[in-house]
């Protein structure tokens, strides 16, 4: 095998942004390191991956089956790496395979195979596989008559989601909290559905949402790169959630339970490369459900790579051409291998950046449809410091967790303001400020948790920030150097020597960066080819 085709993700749209340029660029470099010739197709010119410096043969052509076939016919690549171009790249690769084009030109699919991708993405196949390996998926029932509905009234768990099949925009559905509500909404749904069919599914609203980034090679070695916890409980798209890495509110038992589940899933799917597993955890018990698996690099894997220093796309590309985890060097330490799980001695916070400043009339409510165009990440030694640093980097009006007033608030209403309560219950781009405002007004952590379902641990931290008065951004006043030193992201929490100058600031006393910087030669000619 000499020549490999990589398909990019096309134009930037909400839900598919710069992370695929990062992943694709890394993969191209990684494959060329291994001596392969890389052919790249992408219609998006504003990318590094479409540089003649990044790939050997660059096609800026439409990402359609027709043009990809023409590229394949001209270039005759030996392999195709489909898992780096987001859903666009994956869909296109599937179409090329299904239409027999890959077979006709003798192109082999590299990395995770199509049937594994299908098992991960097809709802029914995925559920069957999960049942096979005894991993819980949210229970669901198909109902086609009033009598079937009646028989289920005492069977289904509440709250429960009702989804009428074949109605425009899902009209008539919703969350029900009791058997009476289910009876009413369910019968209405059956009438509204053109096929007289509804689906009932266990509602996980308010559960914790946790993700694991896992890697597996062709020999079956698996590791978890890191886990991440959403500050926003289930019900908000991960891309629209505030995300913390590593998880902060899981017990050791829960952490390992979910880690084992993730590893079993990637093993059962026979993923060769990177994979993202999303899980929902009951805050009051050890119950959990598997929500979704992304059998490819994703926005979450980009975040995990930056959060840990572990280059997921680079390693995934090498796995795709047959390398195993213990053969791949850890590019940060240069002394350890890619089979070492990263260790973090800091906290990472990601906050999404939404376009509502551009669209003042837009619907700011957050749910399962992603709305953010981008995100910021901040690294620091504590959750509080990382959260405040992320807020400061958002480039929005608020520079910290400043006082905030919900729309339509009646000022005479005081602390029990209904508007504030609504702002806590309904996730929007401003909910973080609503949480801080409620705690500033003296609402108890228990009360805020009850309304927002945000974990009390996060709330107590936010309470600490607002109680400390003006949020602790020590370098806000322009005094640049006071009280900050730089620490390293080294993938191993200082266990091994590390050479990569990847730094973050923190208000401590010992500067790790100084030692790394001293090691470099005085003239520091680090020319890059």
């Amino acid at each position: 095998m000499k020549k490999i085709l990589v398909i990019g993700s096309g134009p930037i749209v909400i839900g598919q942004a710069a992370e695929f340029d990062y992943a694709g660029t890394q993969a191209c470099k990684s494959l060329r390191e291994e001596g392969y010739e890389v052919v790249l197709v992408n219609s998006n010119p504003a990318t590094i991956m479409t540089d003649e410096e990044t790939a050997d043969r660059v096609y800026i052509e439409p990402l359609t089956v027709e043009f990809c076939e023409r590229v394949i016919a001209r270039e005759r690549p030996d392999g195709l790496l489909p898992t780096l171009g987001g859903q666009t790249g994956l869909n296109l690769a599937s179409q090329l395979a299904e239409q027999g084009i890959l077979e006709r030109y003798g192109v082999r699919l590299l990395g995770t195979q199509l049937d594994a991708i299908r098992k991960a993405e097809d709802r029914e196949l995925f559920r069957a596989l999960m049942r096979e390996i005894k991993q819980p998926v949210p229970e669901s029932w198909i109902v086609e008559s009033d009598s079937e509905l009646e028989a289920l009234l005492d069977v289904v768990p509440y709250p429960c989601i009702v989804r009428p099949a074949y109605t425009l925009g899902g009209t008539g559905g919703g969350v029900v909290y009791s058997r009476e509500e289910l009876w009413e909404t369910g019968r209405k749904g059956l009438k509204l559905s053109m096929r007289s069919q509804i689906m009932l599914e266990r509602s996980l609203l308010g559960w914790k949402e946790v993700e694991y980034e896992v890697m597996r090679d062709g020999k079956g070695n698996c590791i978890t790169v890191c886990n991440m916890e959403n500050l926003d409980p289930m019900g908000v798209h991960t891309g629209d959630s505030i995300v913390v890495a590593p998880s902060q509110t899981l017990s050791d038992v829960e952490y390992h339970m979910l880690r084992n589940a993730s590893l079993r899933i990637i093993e059962a799917l026979k993923i060769e490369g990177g994979c993202n597993v999303q899980l929902a955890v009951n805050p009051d018990s050890f119950d959990y459900y598997v929500i979704e698996v992304n059998p490819r690099v994703s926005r979450s894997s980009a975040l995990a790579s930056k959060a840990t220093g572990y280059p997921i796309a680079r390693v995934a590309a090498k796995i795709a051409v047959g390398k195993t985890l213990e053969q791949i060097e850890n590019a940060v330490t240069k002394t350890t291998k890619a089979c070492f799980e990263p260790a973090l001695d800091y906290v990472v916070v990601k906050i999404p950046r939404w376009p509502f400043d551009k669209f003042p009339g837009g619907d700011r409510r957050l749910s399962t449809q992603m709305k953010a165009t981008g995100e910021v990440m901040a690294i620091d030694r504590t959750f509080e410091a990382a959260l405040l640093k992320a807020v400061r980097g958002l480039e929005v009006k608020a520079k910290g967790l400043d006082s905030w007033h919900p729309q339509g608030e009646d000022s005479t209403n005081g602390d029990a303001s209904d508007a504030l309560r609504a702002a806590l219950a309904q996730p929007t781009d401003e909910r973080l400020w609503a949480l801080a405002e409620a705690l500033r007004r003296g609402w108890s952590v228990e009360e805020v948790n009850r309304v927002s379902r945000v974990d009390p641990w996060f709330l107590r931290k936010i309470q600490g920030i607002v109680r400390a008065g003006s949020p602790g951004h020590p370098r806000q006043d322009g005094d640049a150097t006071e009280g900050s030193v730089y620490k390293m992201v080294d993938t191993c929490a200082g266990e091994f020597e590390s050479f990569t100058p990847y730094f973050y600031a923190t208000a401590e006393s010992e500067d790790d960066a100084a030692t790394v910087l001293e090691r470099r030669p005085a003239a520091a000619v680090v020319a890059m080819e």
Binding site: K306, G374, R392
Partner: protein, 556 residues
């Protein structure tokens, strides 16, 4: 000069108006610094980017791009200089503060950046150069805004100063609408003046230039192929221009070079122009930094713009790098590329052997309650590029890549302003001869009928059945040509039509010239095999016989 430590500022989180393009520029700046033997240090807080890959720079500080955080890194690194022109508005906004705190801002000096962004200073500079801009004023109250609008005449463009991506920018048709839009613009950037300018109808033209403070290279001229008044980020553009006279091209180059020299630009600068019906070239905006068109222009001209800009910012001259003042003309027919002077442009030059059409891509279906009508405020999240040896094929590729679905033998709907009716008749006749069914609204239908071109008479949006929206939603339309007049009613209708086209994936063209090109491109849509499928390098440096025949193993 080698061995310096240079801090390169990134552009922070991706938002509408400040996207992935700035990551491209930052990374290329880092590569250029490394190639020169310097140490490149990155400050950025966006986890999605290549610039925050730990092996892109010589050091990465994962920190917010704010003044205190950057100053802290500069101190820690004992940096010799800071590069602010590649990280979008986020980075350039720090120039003044960095300089005030004693950091060395590389490239265009902070005073020059301020002079380009301050209305009064910039007007004075243009006046000195004898370059017109649309008449207007910076105002600080509604009364002043009213007076300014009366003075220059409606329609006027109202916008806040010092904001990104045309936020809160509006075209105001008459006095009744002025107050609302003034308040919006004022609220967008409180404490700063609001700009009220005459809105000039014409063709918009854009250049990104590299300057060493004396000489200025114009790598290419981009022509917007949507009507003026649509934000440059949302407009389709073509390189090289297809509808500009030699005189206009020479004038654009002359003005861009003059402004760069007068400001003392060292590095990149973006200039936007509008050309009115008489061919007068007005300057509408200057950004003394890398813009969103730099990546695509670098690729289709073959000029390594960021590399040149980085070297100029560090004191090298364009002449020493093998370039000079003027317009870059790509290698062609065995000739090497060269820089054409204004005199040469006036005699006629060919900028490139290829055509590149940039088309915007939107995410409206993800955002509820958002009006997809395009105007001076940017709304697209991304872009695609169509490249080919003919304008028609490039246009076809850009539209297909942006998600437009073409229905073979579908109806072409024409609804055009009075000025465009003769051109619409010519387009209609060609379409009819090729067998396309035509739909047209009232006036356009009459014009076609008078010229003997048959068409189905369709109602406008608010008129009864059959109207053009119904046809769109029935999925029977291949192409929508809508050039709205200036009346408010037409503007509102155009908004609804545009929305319906986005929802149904139908190509919607708002300028009659683009319609003409697209009518030709319809053939390519139906029989795409003449469109090429080549690497970027093959388009840029074609063998002398190009455009080539398709290779034997092609599937055509």
């Amino acid at each position: 000069m080698t061995g310096k430590t240079v801090v390169v500022l990134g552009s922070g989180p991706i938002r509408i108006g400040q996207g992935i393009e700035f990551d491209y520029s930052c990374v290329h700046c880092v590569w250029a610094l490394q190639e020169m033997g310097h140490r490149a240090v990155i400050v950025n807080n966006n986890p999605e980017t290549v610039s925050t890959d730990f092996d892109t720079g010589d050091a990465l500080y994962f920190e917010p791009v704010t003044l205190p955080d950057v100053l802290s890194v500069v101190a820690h690194e004992e940096a010799d200089g800071v590069m602010v022109q590649f990280g979008g508005q986020t980075a350039i906004n720090l120039a003044e503060g960095l300089a005030a705190a004693g950091a060395h801002v590389l490239g265009t000096p902070p005073e020059a950046i301020a002079a380009a962004e301050d209305r009064g200073q910039f007007d004075a500079l243009l006046a000195r150069l004898g370059v017109p801009r649309p008449p207007g004023r910076a105002v600080r109250s509604l009364d002043e805004a009213r007076a300014a609008a009366e003075e220059v005449g409606y329609p006027v463009l109202v916008r806040p100063s010092f904001v990104l991506g045309g936020r809160a920018m509006e075209i105001v048709q008459g006095p009744a609408d002025l107050e609302g839009f003034y308040r919006e613009a004022d609220a967008a950037n409180p404490g700063q003046p609001v700009l009220v300018d005459q809105y000039i109808v014409g063709t918009e033209v854009e250049v990104d230039v590299v300057s060493d403070g004396v000489d200025t290279l114009v790598p290419g001229i981009m022509e917007h192929i949507d009507r003026a008044g649509i934000h440059s980020g949302d407009s389709m553009t073509v390189y090289p221009p297809v509808g500009l006279s030699r005189e206009v091209e020479a004038r654009v180059v002359e003005v861009a070079c003059g402004i760069a020299r007068a400001l003392g630009v060292r590095g990149l600068m973006n200039v936007q122009f509008v050309v009115d019906g008489e061919g007068t070239v007005f300057v509408i905006e200057v950004n003394p930094r890398a813009s969103r068109t730099v990546p695509y222009l670098s690729k289709v001209t073959g000029v390594p713009m960021v590399r040149l800009a980085t070297r100029c910012a560090l004191g090298e001259s364009l002449a020493s790098l093998g370039y000079g003042s003027g317009l870059w003309c790509s290698p062609e027919d065995g000739r090497t590329g060269y820089v054409a002077t204004e005199a040469e442009i006036l005699q006629g030059v060919r900028q490139a052997g290829l055509f590149a059409v940039k088309a915007p891509v939107f995410s409206f279906q993800k955002l509820g309650h958002v009006d997809p009508a395009l105007g001076p405020e940017m709304k697209s999240t991304g872009e695609v590029l169509g490249v080919d040896f003919t304008y028609e094929a490039a246009l076809y590729k850009a539209l297909v890549a942006s998600g437009v679905v073409f229905k073979p033998r579908g109806q072409v709907i024409l609804t055009v302003a009075d000025d465009d009716k003769p051109a619409a008749v010519a387009i209609g006749r060609r379409l009819h001869e090729r067998g396309y069914p035509i739909g047209a609204t009232g006036g356009t239908h009459d014009a076609l009928a008078a010229a003997g071109v048959p068409s189905e008479r369709l109602g406008k949006v608010q008129e009864g059945s059959p109207n053009l929206l119904e046809r769109l939603f029935e999925g029977r339309v291949s192409l929508m040509v809508n050039t709205p007049g200036r009346a408010e009613q037409a503007t509102r209708e155009a908004a609804r039509i545009r929305r319906a086209c986005i929802e149904t994936g139908v190509a919607c063209v708002t300028s009659i010239d683009t319609a003409r090109a697209l009518a030709d491109a319809l053939d390519v849509f139906e029989y795409p095999s003449p469109a090429c499928c080549l690497t970027l390098g093959e388009y840029l440096r074609p063998a002398p016989s190009h455009p080539p025949a398709e290779p034997a193993d092609s599937i055509a």
